[in-house]
Amino acid sequence: MSAPATAPVQDAPDERLVHRSYLRRLLGRPELGAVVGAAAVFVFFSFVADSFLQASSLSTVLYASSTIGIMAVPVALLMIGGEFDLSAGVMVTTSALVSSMFSYQMTANVWVGVGVSLLATLAVGFFNGFVFTRTKLPSFIITLATFLMLTGLNLGFTKLISGTVSTKTIGDMEGFESARAVFASHFTIGGVDVQVTILWWLGLVALATWVLLRTRVGNWIFAVGGGADAARAVGVPVRRTKIGLYMAVAFCAWISGQHLLMSYDVVQSGEGVGNELLYIIAAVIGGCLMTGGYGSAIGSAVGAFIFGMASKGIVYAQWNPDWFKFFLGAMLLLATLLNAWVRKRAEASK
């Protein structure tokens, strides 16, 4: 691109081939700021809350983190791909409602409802992606519309079918026990009660990290977020990638939704509103850029962990919960500032 006169001296090695030291590479990771922040929050609550360091408390914190974290993973991927999904929060409720009401109304095995719900939720994700790629309107608007429509459908259908705002119990139906074992069981490790969602969460983080860093699809995701037109020019299937990302959000919404249903065997139709922002907060604290093209799945997990520590830490520290939202906002601001600073330093030292 540059004129021959300014070309680098011939014997200087190509910058893409230079071996960067391990420390340098570590400093360049998107999640570094979040890890530092998580360590700070952890140390902080270890000091101010006496019961925070108990194994049972940490398990509660991890569970709270996992309920956010399961959704933060695909939301982070989507943000790396350059888009938002504001319908992610209520989609979880929708997914739970579909499987619960289908099983109950059809008197079907719970697993049938779970399957139908998977199809329905993926369809919602496909709808988001399809409308977005066809219309080229901002994803913010498209998913905001989906968010509102789903909120209305959740309540409308539940009232219409069940007559109340919550679904009827499916706890005594066939297949419930095995479905609960998959989505909402808990087991004991060394005397500590551990929720199965933590495994789902870790599994999803590992899968997403592998996809992002080791596969062609991962390259596509970074490419479409970095610059959709440039990506299309070099042959990346932009449309398919973005639709796929929305369906990944839907898939994880299905997992979260089934967890919600199986843990309590009924679903409140009005829940989930506002959670979409928590997922985005977790992804941003974890180092995802709002503009796309940069971020990591591990970062979203660290972000969710910070969120879990903060929300439960305030209870362990026995503070007045009225201040929680302020604390959350301040942390979000600090984390993003720290991220920006670390990234600048890392890029300057390259």
């Binding site: 408390s57 309540l155 009005g270 929300s311 209870v315 919960p321 939202k325």
Partner: protein
């Protein structure tokens, strides 16, 4: 900078108000706090509710609980979340801290079932308050303190009958709250006229007002509006005025504004469930249980309401609503 500060201070000093404000509140609040009246060990009791952020009703519950905590030498903790699973997580966090007693609400009973069971297994006595009277015993709580929502609803229906109303709207401000549904069902049960449910977004007051307004404009036959929470009653009054409707506004629960409006004749009546008493009794009963294995109710809910409050009662209650204890 200091000049600005001085100006602000000066203006504050010069512009003293003889009525209202912080000082009037402090004068009225002398009853609260005080010293421990017992020398039992300093136990820690925690209350976890389904309240949203900044809800006046739960402030009153808390002030009752804190008053009992002060008397009984109790360390009182409080946490809340509107979402069932997050409320359950908060209860779990309290169990992790090995509190000596738990007070929970069962507005979303299915979400709370497991953690209440865990608390019981951990040897923590549990009392349920406010909502969930039908599930309390089944979940193994010692007792339930609150009002039976259906009975309260029926009381409203009867009161509407007495007033010769024909068509009422029941305004629900929290979608998904079983207690709210029960209240409206209760009204339906005893009211001889027609009842319609109207869902509004409780966290958004202008939305509440415009929704009620639209409802009243669209159906001129409505002659009674029943709100399910005290903060919504004055809003409903405004909405009725805007819509040019003659409908009478009645409400569940009480606060200072409602007491004022009752005195001024803007509201028909209020049904009080005495939130202060719910908080106070819950802490005090847990103390009694810890100290002497006492329990009230004999396996049935201990009722704190419904009490019908009309214009005359409002006058005597105004003093207490102003300081935030009724």
């Amino acid at each position: 900078m200091s000049a600005v500060l001085a100006a602000v201070l000066g203006a504050t000093l010069a512009g003293c108000s003889a009525t209202g404000g912080k000082r009037a509140e402090e004068r009225a609040a002398k009853a609260a706090q005080g010293r421990a009246a017992v020398d039992t060990p300093r136990w820690t009791f925690a209350m976890v509710t389904h309240s949203g952020d900044g809800d006046t009703f739960w402030d009153i519950v808390q002030s009752g609980a804190k008053q009992a905590a002060a008397k009984d030498n109790i360390k009182f903790l409080y946490a809340h979340d509107v979402e069932g699973n997050k409320q359950a997580q908060n209860v779990q966090a309290m169990i992790d801290q090995k509190v000596d007693g738990l007070i929970v609400t069962l507005a979303k009973p299915d979400a709370m079932k497991d953690v209440v069971e865990k608390a019981r297994k951990a040897g923590i006595p549990v009392i349920t308050v406010n909502s969930g009277s039908d599930k309390s015993k089944e979940f193994g709580a010692l007792t339930h303190i609150g009002q039976d929502e259906v009975i309260a609803g029926e009381a409203v229906g009867e009161q509407l009958n007495e007033r010769g109303k024909k068509k009422a709207v029941c305004v629900l401000h929290e979608q998904g709250n079983v207690g709210h549904e029960q209240r409206c069902d209760g009204v339906k049960k005893s009211f001889k006229g027609e009842v319609q449910n109207l869902y509004v977004e409780g966290t958004n007051m202008p939305n509440v007002q415009s929704s009620i307004e639209a409802k009243l404009q669209s159906d001129k036959d409505i002659d009674a509006v029943v709100t399910l929470g005290a903060p919504f009653a004055p809003t409903a009054v405004k909405a009725a005025e805007q819509a040019g409707s003659k409908a009478e506004v009645d409400t569940f629960d009480l606060n200072a504004k409602v007491a004022e409006a009752l005195q001024a004749g803007k509201l028909g009546f209020a049904v009080d469930q005495d939130p202060y008493l719910q908080g106070y009794e819950a802490v005090d009963l847990l103390w009694l249980y810890r100290y002497n294995r006492d329990m009230l109710g004999g396996g049935r809910p201990v009722l704190t309401g419904p009490q019908i409050v009309t214009k005359d009662d409002a006058k005597t209650l105004a003093e207490y609503t102003k300081r935030g204890t009724r």
